[in-house]
Amino acid sequence: MTSRARTLVGFAVVAVALAFAPNIQEAFEFPRFYLIFLFTMYFWISQASSWNILTGYSGYFSFGQGAFYGVGVYTVGVLVVKQGWSFMAALPVAGLLAGLTGLFLGLVVFRVRRLTGEIFALTTLAIAFVLASLARLSTFIDGGTGIFTTGTPLPEYLGEFTTAAYRLTLAVALITVVVAYLIHDSRLGWGLFAIRDDEPVAEGLGVPTFRYKMVALGANALLAGLMGGVWALQLGFVTVDEVFNIRVPLFVILMSVLGGMQHWMGPVIGAVIITTLTDRLNSAGLADVNQIIIGGMLVVLALAVREGVYVRMRRRWLTTAITFFGVLGLTTVLDLNDSLISDFAYAMVATVVVMLVPDRVWALLRDVFRRSEPVEEQTEAEDLTRTGP
């Protein structure tokens, strides 16, 4: 079996295992909250991963995640609640409309010859507010009153509401990550990386840059909208302010920068870490300070960690394992926290802090403390962001 097939099987196994979490939760009477925590994580894993397909792989910075997500949310809101469609019929439409929004943007901006990247970034920044205005203006869409999505009937086979939400978000997150993975080490992926590194040169070597950028953008938008459609139910009451605010674009950028933008695992790791941390901060009542910390983290991370923590975790895998499981073990055994999630949070923070140690300092420390070393640390020259046949 090729390594690719192995990974896909791995995905399938993980997916099936996770899909049964609700049953486990019920059987063992774990708090419901864990399910909610998990599917919130799936939401962000999906959003960050789909964003990275465009921005990380192609280098075209997008602030538009909120816009695509918003299109998805409102499509379901309008079609299901206002127009009486069935949810499962509206969901693909949500993805489709969001995808078309993205493609429209691409058609307009990608044809511009100079400063395409910058103009693209700024246009995506503007479009969320434009769509918000549109939603507010049009009574067909929102009209300023918002849409109540609670009580929407779902197909029987999905189970009761929380279980259904859980499985839907899991499914979309899985699709997103698999797509990101498949693109990563494919002809499309390499073409995108070439575009990111030097677009004119890539074009000159035969990479169909316009087409590839559109594909990446379309995939990003479609997946963001799909997850938005699912999340519409979760929101309960959909309003323009709630949907089109700065939070979604901000968080996906943060998560991807933290985890690493050059590998499909980066956004996943970033999403897991940030979701855990914000959850703990919220329950500690620090929700307001939250955004200042987020902004600060973004600045620090963007400057300090070039390739994101995932690449470093792979390079310093032994240290990662020791730190993470060590702290986790300590906090669990010593019962320092009331929640298992808090234990994980501490373990993650400790690991991230260790990963933030710059490579040069790390090499210094390594030389000082190791005599005969197992060759666990690989040199920086090896580019571990590439997997391949």
């Binding site: 390499w190 070439a194 070597l205």
Partner: protein, 245 residues
């Protein structure tokens, strides 16, 4: 057989006329030298021929196809490749990956698996096997120039445009590069070489086209052209400028 036919091509940037009504043709298999003082339009011409900029006027016919309206990647698919004066490798990739990507998207599309093994051929042709898997920031200028060549060659071009590939090299490296260029031509690839190093261009080229201020000033065999008074005038002016620093 004429492989490239350029008729009255022109390009201006704002108020500056970079290329002004240039007509030339390139025969299959030959090495055409393109010379001229700085600012004569040589690099712009290369950019026009490879599709980097659209021309303002004129026609370019490559192998029977009018390439005027085509985007750069379609022109690459037809068989034109070019290198850059200052090498522009993909900096997040190793040399091997640079070549593999190029191979994947060349004249006939290939997949990843084929590309990685095919890169081997170009790595050894340019002598880069030793540095195939390091970061490109660790390569010398000479190696980077060879990487440019390898990458361009991996697209299987029939016409290769070299933009001052010898700039910045020492005499030994220049000789090695000239040898490399000869070997490329021996494989049947037509070459258009923009160069300032006169001894190299006269040694390599079967014909030379001289540009000055965006126009063709002379065409012909190297010896003839280089002793043409108009060419000497254009260059003597340059030489004086160079001498003054």
């Amino acid at each position: 057989m004429t492989i490239l036919e350029v008729t009255s091509i022109g390009k201006r940037f704002g108020g500056v006329v970079a290329v002004d009504d240039v007509t030339l043709s390139v025969e299959q298999g030959e090495v055409l030298g393109l010379v001229g003082p700085n600012g004569s339009g040589k690099s712009t011409l290369i950019n026009l021929l490879s599709g980097f900029y659209p021309a303002d006027k004129g026609r370019v016919v490559f192998d029977g196809t009018d390439v005027g309206e085509l985007t750069a990647h379609r022109i690459a698919a037809l068989g034109i490749a070019r290198t850059f004066q200052i090498p522009r490798p993909f900096h997040t990739m190793t040399p091997r990956e640079n070549i593999a990507v190029s191979y994947m998207f060349g004249r006939s599309p290939h997949n990843l698996v084929e590309a990685r093994s095919a890169a081997e051929e170009w790595l050894s042709f340019t002598g880069l096997e030793g540095v195939a898997d390091v970061g490109v920031d660790q390569l010398t200028l000479h190696q980077l120039k060879f990487l440019e060549l390898a990458r361009a060659l991996a697209t299987h071009p029939t016409l290769l445009l070299l933009d001052e590939v010898l700039a910045g090299l020492n005499p030994t490296e220049i000789n090695q590069s000239m040898e490399m260029i000869r070997r490329i031509n021996d494989r049947g690839i037509t070459l258009v070489i923009v160069e300032h190093v006169i001894r190299a261009i006269t040694a390599l080229s079967s014909r030379i086209v001289v540009l000055d201020q965006g126009r063709v000033v002379a065409t012909g065999k190297p010896r003839e052209v280089m002793s043409d008074p108009a060419v000497v005038a254009a260059y003597l002016g340059t030489k004086r400028r160079h001498a003054a620093g």
